[in-house]
């Protein structure tokens, strides 16, 4: 708890309320008081928070999997759909590699662009004001 947690609102507020307003505020505060947490409530809160933090770490460890799986799937599609030219007799055989197909097929290019867009995660990005609040202090 912060040092002034135990102070009553009317003692801590520097709003300089007239006495009648201060009495009104005290009545509102009394009528609208949250339940006092028990030690069991605090322990439950802490374990739920630990679960969330662990879940986030797991998600972070596995987040490379989705784009990688997508990339493998696209590569497979490309390989399966790549035109297999029947070599004509006497003509030199020209193998069509998946990379050739990627460069030439607009549909596949769109898929790849989609992958690269989804490759970045905003897991670590936070609203700028969180980061910038320190500069607001002084």
């Amino acid at each position: 708890m912060s040092p002034h947690d135990d102070r009553r609102p009317e003692e801590t507020s520097d709003a300089g309320l007239p006495p009648e307003d201060a009495r009104f505020v005290a009545r509102v505060a009394e009528a609208y008081a949250p339940p006092e947490p028990t030690p069991a409530d605090r322990a439950r809160f802490r374990s739920q928070l630990d679960e969330r933090l662990a879940g986030r770490d797991r998600a972070r460890a596995w987040r490379w999997l989705a784009p990688a799986a997508l990339a493998v799937a696209v590569a497979l599609i490309v390989m399966l759909r790549a035109p297999v030219d029947e070599p004509s007799e006497g003509a030199p055989v020209l193998a069509t590699t998946p990379s050739d197909a990627i460069e030439t097929d607009p549909e596949q290019q769109t898929l790849l662009a989609f992958i690269s867009e989804n490759d970045s995660s905003d897991e670590d990005s936070l609203p700028e004001d969180y980061q910038a609040i320190a500069s607001l202090m002084y």
Binding site: S2, D14, Y32, L49
Partner: protein, 193 residues
Amino acid sequence: MARAQAALVVAAAGGSNSVEVARERAFEAFVAEHRDRAVRIAWRLLGGDQAAAEDVAQEAFVRAHRALGGFRGDARLATWFHRILLNEVARYQRWRWVRQRFAGEMPADPPELDAARPGDPGLRARVARALEKLPRGQREAFVLVHLEGLTIQESALATGRALGTLKSHLHRALRALRAELADLDPRQEARRT
């Protein structure tokens, strides 16, 4: 408080295992120190919904944990965290509004009013409704300054508003609440007698 802040700032700056352990310990102390107030603030801003308040407070701690690397020691850690918490409350309210509006979800029932708790459950619900009617800025100002006892300066920093704006919000909030909850207003009481 200052010790927890210093420990967190030092720990956040490093990357080794021992620093990581120190960081986790400091974070644990930070949660223990701010948990009750965080839930209280969220509870008061979310109409007395205990489950939602705990959910929002936990999310705020998760975000604080994630953003700790970006925290600069010249800011007061509590103020920085309160700002995260207020943003989480607002985010929760936006999503609740979207779910109700577009997903056909029914508006939430009035918060669980535990009849066994001291105080008048009906009055508690009326205060919750009166606070919900206030615009966000006024509600935050009233809860932080008058109900949680933060100074106007601390509240202005936590809400990201200018001092003058915050004072104006406080004045308007008080006027609106006095009109809405006239039976709690000593002035009205004096007129009646």
